[in-house]
């Protein structure tokens, strides 16, 4: 349905090459920063699946991000690592179950309701971790060791090494991107896009819309969980704030900033969003205004909402079609 433009392919390959070479030249801090950006890119793509492709505007996507992070923190013994082959599937399964349960409820609603209800459910998860002793309350929990990539005595590679961790995230980012391209080009993916364009007619031509939406809701939840798991592993720390609605708002902003309904746009959005935040906070550039960096961020967000509905990718691609291009 959506032929990939050759230029975009070339740009993506160049970006991949740059990312692959980056740790050879970048300082420790920047390697970590780009790791974070790549993790957020996975997060943003997972949300784009809902917002951009299926037309479901969720303002509670951070719930999955946080759940998986807490799953890692709670599963792993305090002072020793645990195999990623146990903790990751468990974290993702938790997200899938949560998506299935809440999805069955939130998908009964539409439009504004959907936005508010997703927000409220995420808020509920926030309070579960914030108010109960389960996850260390408002102080959160430490993850003192990175997950072990291996089994028993056998270790394939060591994630304590920042470069190894970087490459693991890079590989996962590419894998998620390819997976989603494949899924979006499939019958299932086309059905999702049909639902976004005309949900009513989709029913009339025989699609059990709710089941498809639930399917994509679970998929998006699981992928958001993957990014949350990686983020928790990277920083070794989880806290209720990773579930807060500001986190959900930020990732929504990334999706739109980059250009929703385009996987590459989500990745660009994650990158630019983090970069802007870095930039505005820099008091060598903005002096006293840096203290009020959120003001600049707010202005940018308003400007994007007003003038850049198709995001940065929309600036580059001059296609008139409104349909999602992968």
């Amino acid at each position: 349905m959506h032929p990939h433009s050759r230029t975009l392919g070339v740009v993506l390959l160049l970006a991949l090459a740059a990312l692959a070479l980056f740790p050879l030249v970048g300082g420790t801090f920047y390697v970590q920063l780009i790791t974070k950006v790549m993790i957020l890119a996975i997060f943003a793509m997972s949300l784009d699946l809902l917002v951009g492709y299926t037309g479901l505007v969720s303002l509670g996507h951070a719930a999955f991000f946080g759940l998986a992070g807490y799953a890692l923190a709670l599963l792993q013994p305090k002072y020793e690592p645990m195999s990623i082959f146990i903790t990751l599937p468990a974290a993702l399964a938790l997200c899938a179950v949560f998506a299935l349960l809440t999805g069955a409820l939130v998908l009964r609603t539409r439009g504004i309701y959907f936005i508010m209800v997703t927000l409220a459910f995420a808020q509920m998860v926030y309070f579960v971790f914030h108010d109960t002793a389960l996850g260390g309350g408002s102080d959160g929990l430490y993850i003192n060791n990175k997950p072990l990539v291996g089994w028993g005595e056998l270790t394939l590679f060591d994630l304590e090494n920042r470069t190894s961790f970087y490459y693991l995230v890079l590989v996962l980012l590419v894998a998620v991107y390819l997976l989603l391209r494949r899924v979006l080009a499939s019958n299932f993916g086309h059905a999702l896009q049909g639902i976004r364009v005309n949900e009513h007619r989709m029913r009339a031509i025989g699609f059990p819309v709710m089941r498809y939406q639930l399917g994509v809701y679970v998929l998006a939840g699981v992928l958001a969980g993957l990014s949350g798991y990686l983020s928790a592993a990277q920083f070794g720390f989880v806290n209720p704030e990773i579930i807060s609605w500001h986190q959900s708002g930020a990732v929504l902003m990334m999706v739109i900033l980059g250009g929703m309904g385009t996987l590459s746009g989500s990745m660009v959005g994650a990158f630019v969003f983090v970069l802007l935040e870095e930039f505005f906070k820099d008091d060598t550039v903005f002096g006293a205004v840096a203290k009020h960096w959120q003001l600049l961020m707010g202005l940018i967000i308003v400007a994007v909402a007003c003038f850049l509905p198709r995001g940065l990718i929309g600036l580059l691609t001059r296609r008139k079609r409104d349909a999602g291009d992968a």
Partner: protein, 248 residues
């Protein structure tokens, strides 16, 4: 094929349909006419599952389908078109029809096979496009089609779901004379392998196509029979044909 009896729909105190009955079989076009507000669209919406009936029965091949969801009814072989064009306007013609065809295909849930290589759905889609006489426009984006072509696509979308029963809600709405003629011919051709329920205002088209006519007034069936019987029915003449010439 499709048997409707005692079908009623109430919106609060308003009786949009009361005890409506009709039946249609393959090879037959059953036209429903009536003035605005007679409840024709409500009837179609109940048959397609868009509106749940308040009471009554809709049997498809003897199976009760009243109250099923639209997608369930669609998958049982009932296709419908809409009075107000209701297509995937940002998709191409082929994409529109392939999507519709896909819902019939056994591999609808396969996550990793590219849809545009999904042969059964594409074959079905192309067949529907040919039937709706849209050949050559497969790769046009739906929103760029002319009004008449969009109406054809509306029909093609239903056809791509390989229905046995077709519910057509004013397919000629907003069409010019020439476009209308083409559409009438198209619907005529579909008669041979579909059972068709047609709601239409255009009097010429109605009498050109109808095998059976049902006249509805204020949510009730006033009369039902062959076109000749209806024409001769004094009640219909008094209540309807007589007063609203040319616009049945």
């Amino acid at each position: 094929m499709l048997e409707v009896s005692q079908l009623s729909k109430h919106f609060g105190g308003l009786r949009a349909n009361s005890n409506v009955a009709l039946s249609v079989r393959v090879g037959q076009i059953h036209v429903v006419i009536g003035p605005n507000g007679a409840g024709k669209s409500t009837l179609i919406n109940m048959l397609s599952g868009d509106l749940p009936p308040t009471s009554g029965s809709i049997k498809l091949d003897g199976r009760e389908i009243a109250g099923l969801r639209p997608d369930e009814i669609s998958r049982l072989g009932v296709g419908r078109s809409y009075q107000k064009t209701n297509i995937f306007s940002s998709f191409t013609v082929l994409e529109n029809c392939r999507l519709a065809a896909q819902s019939r295909a056994p591999q609808a849930w396969r996550l990793f096979t590219p849809a545009d290589r999904h042969a059964p759905a594409i074959a079905l889609a192309r067949h529907a496009i040919a039937q709706a006489e849209l050949d050559g426009r497969e790769h046009r984006v739906a929103s760029t089609l002319s009004h008449g072509e969009q109406r054809q696509l509306e029909i093609a979308l239903s056809l791509a779901t390989a229905p046995r029963v077709l519910l057509l809600d004013e397919p000629l709405a907003g069409m010019g004379a020439e476009e209308s003629m083409r559409m009438v011919a198209l619907i005529g051709k579909l008669r041979s392998d579909h059972a068709i329920v047609l709601v239409e205002h255009d009097i010429d088209a109605v009498f050109a196509l109808a095998d059976v006519l049902t006249v509805m007034v204020e949510g009730q069936v006033l009369a039902s029979g062959s076109p000749a019987e209806i024409r001769a029915n004094p009640q219909v003449q008094a209540a309807y044909l007589g007063t609203e010439h040319g616009h049945v």
